[in-house]
Amino acid sequence: MKRRGAQILWEALTREGVDTVFGYPGGAILPAYDAMLDYDIHHVLVRHEQGAAHMADGYARASGKVGVAIATSGPGATNLVTGIATAMLDSSPIVCITGQVPEAMIGKDAFQEVDVTGITQPITKHNYLVTRAEDIDRTVREAFYIARSGRPGPVLIDITKNAQQAEIDYQPDEAPIRLPGYRTDLAAVAEEYEHAIELIDRAERPVILAGQGVIHSVAGAEVLEFVEKSEMPVAMTLLGLGGFPASHPLNLGMMGMHGESWVNQAIQEADLLLSFGMRFDDRVTGKLAAYAPRARKIHIDIDPAEISKNVAVDVGLVGDLKQVLRQLIAAMAGRKRPGWLDYIDGLKGHAAVRDIQRLPDTGHLWAAHVIHDLWRLTGRDTIVVTDVGQHQMWEAQYYKHDAPRTLITSGGLGTMGFALPAAIGARFARPEAEIWVIAGDGGFQMTAAELSTCAQEGIKLNIAIINNGYLGMVRQWQEFFYQRRYAATPILSPDYLKLAQAHGLDGMVVSSRAEVPRAVEMARSSAATMVVDFRVEQEDSVYPMVPAGAELHEMIRRPEESALPSPVRQSKDRPDTPVRAPTSAIAETGRDEL
């Protein structure tokens, strides 16, 4: 049959199960958009292509399916870059399709020409430049296969305008995908398993480090079985949250820079660390040279290049976590470790409840209280999509995720502006789910234009803006490490109530804890997207904190109550409260920062 390249593109996408794409049209992608009208595809028009990539990413993270973003050449393509890098760092499967100038004009600096395959090479798992209609079908199949298999990641397909326009004789490609250099079957050998089993059975003070690999591999059941058979406590990475239930008694909580103190302490004192699909990011290890000095280390990862990249390990088991755990569970002896668990319980002491309980309910609003209340008031399957900064860490600390894919957040790249578009993507992946956006006033303003997308699509989100009038996390670092010189961190917000209304959406302002439950209830019962502006304490900080480059157990704790700043709202311009004496841990931090 005769088909134009643009038609082949949609047929190939449809065969991959795509029914929703996020994009923005333009000259070089026009043939594809024209053909789209004849296919059963829902296109979400974004307000900026960065939003399209984040939406595809949010769609992928909420569903495990491949998300699709589409943009034109030149600026359309470059606007995708932040979203692609975000997906790359967090191993999220997305396929981005960009238009390119006609093949004959490539290299001529044509209007809206940019070398997008060159630009995105280091931030994609793989990318393609397609100049012939004949190659579109095969390329789409390969791209989806690469994006979702092995360690997932973004793939970009740049298609020249002439390839979209050319009409060819076309039969759908049914042949098996042949990518001889792309191997997802790299595996560990038997001796490595034997070595691992030996370490596991012998360990007295083990800690499991559970990352996003648990979620990608759908290995929740295997992790549970492993944990209960071995009675090993589990520490979570940010992206792992939800992969193992927070309510499980052996779940210690989050590790790392803003992890719980007892979790970091347990890691530092462990004699065995088992990494389940996590990559020893600097935010979870602290100073590498002093990381878990007495622990043997077993690293399970599907990506061989992660083994011993940051932390030299004793055993690297390459493979799909689910399969690897099945082998380990079958071979290991299983045992109880009451002494170690009691010891960790003792480490918690009053720290487990100290931070949030020490925040006085003075009628003023603390961010941690907002998030804690939100958790109490919403259900187990609620999806929370966060932005980046203080609110993100408070969410990770105070919202207890029990189910996988209920937390969607930009971890590796730390992309401000991620939350709203990612939540829109999640909405299309999970039409029935309750979705909350939690964003700071800084990050929200980066992509707030996507409110208009919410309105145009008529979709329902609940948006909690944790509004403290500062770029809070940067302000916190300035407070701790830059003598409280608040360079460029005070930020003015629009009136979010009016902003919501201007988009035909609902809005609300909340400034005391007593109002939180009612606001949450109103947002949930509103049919339209609701923006809730939580006016929280301005100069609160995220505790505990391991300063960048410090050893993992050297945590800055929340000051005692007497040392808390008086809960009086300050003006949005430069605060004039006196400088508090830094805690000793801060004063000692003369380290290089990251």
């Binding site: 430049l129 191997r183 560990a188 030299a312 690297g316």
Partner: protein
Amino acid sequence: MQPEKQNREQQHRHNGNGQSGHNGKRNGARAALRRELHTFVAHVEDRPGVLNRVTSLFRRRAYNIDSLTVGRTEIAGISRMTIVMEADAATARLVEANLYKLVNVLRVEDVTHEPTLLRDLSLIKVKANAEIRPKVMQIAEVFRARVVDVTTESLVLEITGTEDKIQGLIDVLQPFGIVEMVRTGIIAMTRGADGIPIDPGFVHARVPTNGDS
């Protein structure tokens, strides 16, 4: 890639004095491991941009390439690269693992500790008038270099061999005045009857662990 490195003495290269230091930023325990020149043979699909993907990987991960060559193989559509870099054993394995992540890379073999033929080819243009010419030609003969061009004022020598041998010739020609010089970089092939399998059935994921030395 790094001309100044090409001219370093062989002694230096093999001892590895740690001066390029990018490993020092990595795990302290591993930085102490011995660094040496590693030679990788990589078979890659012959497609546009593949060389760029490989070199970009080295740049992106802050690995320094000492030498990189690429050319056709006995199989149509498959190119062969020889990559030489200074690294400790753990870093070498990470390089290998990262190369495997490139979709167009078919097979990577670290031949550093295999019996391997290493060859470099060089053309060297030397100042040589009628009086000097016999001396240069005599030296060429000792090194089994060939004279491939002669003018009244110059000679061009072609030499094939190990880096050491070529460096040796360069050192003795230096006093006459080297007008220009070009080197191909190292190509490598293991000795013996077997070739490197390009598309093996099973690949054991070789990863660096504390057991390596």
